[in-house]
Symmetry: C2
């Protein structure tokens, strides 16, 4: 086939905008994304900086929620940052991390200019996604303490300065428990302190995502963090494939769930626009899908368990970060090929309003599923299969 998702085109949205007449484009966008998000004007200075620094900057407002009599509206500006690595993977660990810090520093300043209140970074944002190599060193040296590692210190300073909550997904070194590694998100308050941590609950064994070589399934459950800008949870990467994982963050009261990710085109791109949006619908909260961008090349070749020759690149991380709303609509995606900052203003009151409208929580029948799951995990479980008595097969 001539066309492939490995192609380096900017985005689905840009293709449609380029080829469709305005009225047709409007109808197509309505079909694809719902009526929920409208573009908002961002500060001229922020746009100029983004242009100079060559990153995609887009701003949207989610449909205004109803005005309630007994609750004031709770407008929050969510930021989503996607970025490439900034140095070759052959540079030292410190050089690589410092260069990414510098890039994020620039982008956080623009986020502040755009009045972002809560910003999420991509999965393992301080490092290349080196798990494809199955090499331990030097890659595990990117791991750091969640509470006082260099990246937490770096972000805590900016969080306080900008009065901004920052979601920082890192490779965590857990010295208190035998030096093990975890895939962890650190939730840094707008006051500059660490509110807490939450770990990746589901670890992939697919393609070159050899993460189970490095760390185990998370042991922090489904914590939700109450911040000055809403109740926030973090479902890291592969956890987005598991609806029951999304569901438990909702049960614990989440209003915004970040999904920091690192995923590549040929494998997952047809799934990307579906999963976080489905979660926003099913759980009546906002979701923020953030994917790494760019192609990372490693010093030593590795194979991919697919019969193909050894190679040194994981494939193209396709960015396309977006926000989905509890009303089922979504923003356009950021670039598939460039760094980007997506700014989305929303009223958190929409979450409870959608619960009231659709009634998904009320009709959830969690008792049925608690009981069904408890039976299903028994080694002696018999699937509830009804056979056709007339079949001769």
């Amino acid at each position: 086939m001539a066309v492939s998702l490995d192609d380096k085109f900017e985005s689905l949205e840009s293709i449609l905008a380029q080829h469709l007449p305005a009225d047709v484009l409007q109808k197509v966008n309505l079909s694809l994304r719902g009526s929920g998000s409208i573009e908002v004007e961002l500060p001229a200075n922020a746009k100029e900086t983004a242009k100079q620094l060559n990153f995609d900057l887009q701003g949207y407002q989610i449909k205004v929620a109803l005005t309630e009599q007994t609750r004031p509206s709770r407008l929050v500006r969510i930021g989503a940052i996607q970025n490439m690595i900034q140095k070759p993977t052959t540079a030292t660990v410190k050089e690589q991390r410092d260069a990414i810090h510098q890039r994020i520093d620039q982008m956080l300043a623009v986020a502040h200019e755009c009045q972002v209140n809560v910003v999420g970074l991509q999965e393992a944002w301080t490092m290349p996604f080196a798990f494809c190599t199955r090499e331990k060193y030097p890659w595990v040296e990117f791991a750091e303490s969640a509470y006082d590692g260099p990246s937490t210190k770096f972000l805590a300073e900016r969080a306080k300065k900008y009065n901004m909550v920052i979601i920082s997904p890192i490779l965590e070194r857990d010295e208190a428990h035998g030096d093990v590694l975890w895939n962890t998100a650190v939730i840094i308050s707008n006051h500059g302190n660490v509110i807490g941590i939450t770990r990746k609950n589901h670890i992939p064994r697919v393609g070159d995502f050899n993460e189970s070589t490095y760390y185990m399934e998370g042991n922090t459950g489904h914590k939700v963090f109450e911040t000055d800008f809403g109740r926030i949870a973090v479902n890291i990467c592969y956890g987005r494939h598991h609806p029951q994982n999304w569901l438990m963050y909702g049960v614990n009261g989440a209003e915004i769930v970040f999904n920091p990710s690192a995923t590549v085109g040929a494998l997952s791109e047809p799934l990307w626009s579906i999963e976080a949006r489905n979660a926003a619908i099913a759980n009546s909260y906002f979701t923020v899908g953030i994917n790494r961008v760019g192609t990372e090349t490693f010093p030593n070749e590795f194979t991919s368990g697919d019969g193909k020759p050894a190679h040194t690149s994981f494939g193209h991380f396709y960015g396309s970060s977006y926000v989905a709303s509890p009303d089922g609509s979504r923003t356009p995606g950021l670039s598939r090929i460039r760094d980007g900052l997506l700014v989305t203003e929303c009223d958190l009151n929409l979450c409870r309003q959608m619960k009231d409208k659709w009634g998904f929580r009320m009709t959830q029948r969690l008792d049925l599923y608690a009981e069904s799951f408890a039976r299903a995990i028994q080694p002696s479980y018999q699937m509830d299969i009804v056979k056709d008595s007339s079949s001769t097969k």
Copy 2:
């Protein structure tokens, strides 16, 4: 806004095909639907009949699964039928039902010509979707016995004649349990017998879906029906909003899950393309979303709890039936405005192959969720919320 989802356009797919150059269309389709489905040629006679009878007939093949050494491939042709009511709602119950039977009879004959093995009909296919009225009579007179009602008898005859499994979602009258009503799917074997029934697990209380006035949440759990053409389950309508419902059909071994529905534009269209596809991905099975089509007008006016004046129509049922594959891809949708038959050939071996590839079942951690749900349903449950110790709010 000039454009609305209440507009009677044919489909998103037809708009894109009309306006985009071939190479661009290919890329857009790949982004939107994945690479999984290719169009297949259906018999000329079937196409001619569909044209004469004015219904949309489309045929696709889902990407061929790997050839395995120890299992033969299991090719199955799935049919999805969407249809309007055929008589005004002022006609007698018998006239209305007979007219729909006649229409379905024609469409089943075409399905047979297209070598369909398993066909699904839409929710409450024998009647107008009259629950918006909250009137009991005459609408409840459409209810019938699942085992020997007129519609089951009608379909059982065709099932045997065509060697075709038929999924028949009806309004059920349960005489053995106090004459209560249920929203039920009857699974009719290709040998002409009823394999069993499965009931709608989640009942809506949204918009004009006043179904909770007529029947309760289903009591048949998550049965899967083993047929000559694969293991089949039925998640009726509003159950598609509940990922935990989809999940349990997967736990019980389903390979094809039908989602017979009746849903209208302004309310749910942005959700429609997301939910059944997400379920196919998360559970490594095929899903078949079937939605009613057309606008139904009722004799007496009713209000909709939205402050607007009384009216006599529910809104436009937008059809758009489609099949989603466990690899994340999907077929195009049927027409938004016409009756239709979608024929999709797939290899059921793809289900287990996708489980092996993605590992979603292996990494599901059902034990964690059994325990989490069991705690969450306790009246004394405390949500797992971590507060920001520095917050002064």
